[in-house]
Symmetry: C2
Subunit: 352 residues, 2 copies
């Protein structure tokens, strides 16, 4: 039965809470990311949930919920994490209106979800893939997030992933642990060209991928909500100072006009793209070789998916273009893709 | 004039305080490492200095002082760091008995050292090289520390390093930012073989090099004085649990008997050795090709220098073997090499 009910999708990550609101017709009314560093405690999550529950019209709303935040150090194990995050959510929103995404087991009520914590844990990638597969027959979903990248093959309107657990997904190249914001530079390069020669790089948490894309000008506003590695500012000059430290060097405010830093940032960005490209090639090799491949780009780093599509001679479609145009921007939809996806999956269930 | 004076060498690092006491005849009476995580504040350093000044007989003692601790985040810049560490030291030991190692400018009184902070900063590698060069005509000092590795060529009884600043040293392969204890695994490998296939690895601070060498059984007691990545224990099972997390997997207490973890640790250790070997080869290429190369091994990871010597067909000498046998063990002398070196250099000055 078609009602005027709207659906809100929630993706509770370790670093970000992502929220998407869909109208009854499936258009995306809003998609927003909030900083919720769960490793510092649950208080930040409670604050955001409280604010959202007060601000929005919550009558006639169905909630769809997925998560990866159960992974953070705060919790002794994943089961405890899933339980704690479900508890936190139903303190602010009615349990009876909430459906929890439990991966292969579909959506479950909160009480049922607690009993299959392993299926609920870190399943948000599958929600995005299932949602994309309702519209796309054949392709690869490339979701480049702040910390990780998912590469999910889709065939005959179904995700045809090989891996289910994180370890399986890392092993079959469907998960690459590299992202646009949080990835430390030391995880990307051990040597870099600088000032006309190659040099060794510090293995310290001095700078992150966000610094790279801030220098190249490719970091979306709102993608980097967290503290920087040295807890200093977020200007290009600040990022250059952090990158300089990776080289054992110092950079001043005037160095923003020095082309060496752009060359350095471009080099490191290319190394990160190659990491993703290597795994993408592995996933592609396993797919039916005859059909043309469409790449569906999602995440704060969707522009990297677009670059890869061009390099690999693939067609490209932004995740946002799967939806009727709504109030949310393409980049907000990309960043919040799993939240959009669980909202859409819950909406479709209600239409059936 | 030969006196009964003993010399104490101090190396104030960011993570460790290293102290060595030499008898008047040059034999090493003691060499000890203390945990002093300076990024948490100066209090830990004051506590150790206070304890040592109370415990030891400090009459007729000359102090030699070197440092790298000025680098830590606690200080706004290196100059401020050098100043703060000199201030801290003379709160516990007489300024008139203290000589500060200022690199190319030799030893200076504390007041003089303050005016050349850039020369004092991170010069401890040069002290070790100068000390080794008094005994060794031709060779390469390979000091594998907890965080970094120094590769200093010695020719005609002189260090013949190309680099002086950290950036120059990283650029000419005389500094490799990799070490036995603190180096995060994500800075060593992006993919590993596990369970018969290659897989991607998490880019998170879940485990460090100490975990690798704890599993292989090569980590010296006392080399790892700091908290582990997850602040949990230091058994082999704890280390395996941390390594498992790097793979997106979980390991239990019984996994210590599973050979896959030893294979994994051995693979990652080999990648670290290759990093050092690549830079060692670059340093070797610049040296006089005719003479045989002697490798002098120092640091908590001196055993890696020994491995490299064997692989490269070089003779090997432990840094401790440059000294008359004293009460300190070979591994303690290796770990505290810069402290032993400044003590010995100060002792020699007094003999002249």
């Amino acid at each position: 039965m078609l009602t005027a009910t709207t659906c809100i999708g929630w993706d509770i990550g370790g670093a970000h809470l992502k929220v998407a609101r869909l109208a009854a017709d499936g258009s995306i009314l809003a998609a927003t990311q909030y900083a919720t560093p769960l490793w510092q405690g649950l208080e930040c999550l409670h604050q955001e949930l409280e604010k959202i529950s007060r601000a929005g019209n919550m009558r006639e709303v169905r909630h769809g919920l997925t998560m990866t935040g159960e992974l953070v150090d705060l919790f002794p194990d994943r089961r405890a994490g899933v339980d704690a995050l479900l508890h936190a959510f139903v303190r602010h929103f009615p349990e009876r209106d909430t459906a929890v995404f439990a991966g292969r087991e579909g959506f479950l009520p909160v009480a049922g979800a607690r009993t299959v914590a392993a299926s609920v844990a870190s399943a948000n990638w599958l929600a995005t893939a299932l949602c994309a597969a309702t519209r796309i027959g054949h392709g690869i979903l490339v979701d480049v997030g702040s910390t990780t990248t998912d590469l999910i093959p889709i065939a005959a309107h179904q995700p045809c992933n090989q891996g289910w657990s994180d370890q399986e997904r890392l092993a079959c190249d469907e998960l690459v642990y590299t992202g646009m914001v949080r990835t430390p530079i030391m995880a990307l390069v051990q040597r870099v060209p600088f000032d006309g020669r190659w040099q060794n790089v510090a293995a310290e948490y001095f700078a992150t991928a966000a610094d790279i894309y801030r220098v190249t000008g490719e970091l979306d506003d709102g993608a980097d909500l967290h503290e920087t590695a040295d807890r200093r500012g977020k200007t290009a000059a600040d990022s250059i100072a952090r990158l300089a430290r990776m080289l054992g060097a110092e950079a001043g405010i005037d160095d923003v006009h020095d082309d060496r830093w752009m060359q350095l940032a471009t080099h490191i960005a290319e190394q990160q793209l190659l990491l993703i490209e290597r795994s993408l090639a592995a996933v592609r090799r396993r797919m039916d070789g005859g059909s043309p491949i469409l790449i569906i780009g999602a995440g704060a780093g969707a522009f990297l998916a677009r670059k890869l599509a061009r390099r690999q001679g693939c067609d490209y479609l932004a995740f946002a273009d799967l939806f009727a145009s709504g109030a949310a921007s393409t980049s907000d939809v990309a960043t919040c893709a799993p939240a959009v996806a669980v909202a859409e999956l819950v909406r479709r269930m209600r239409l059936q």
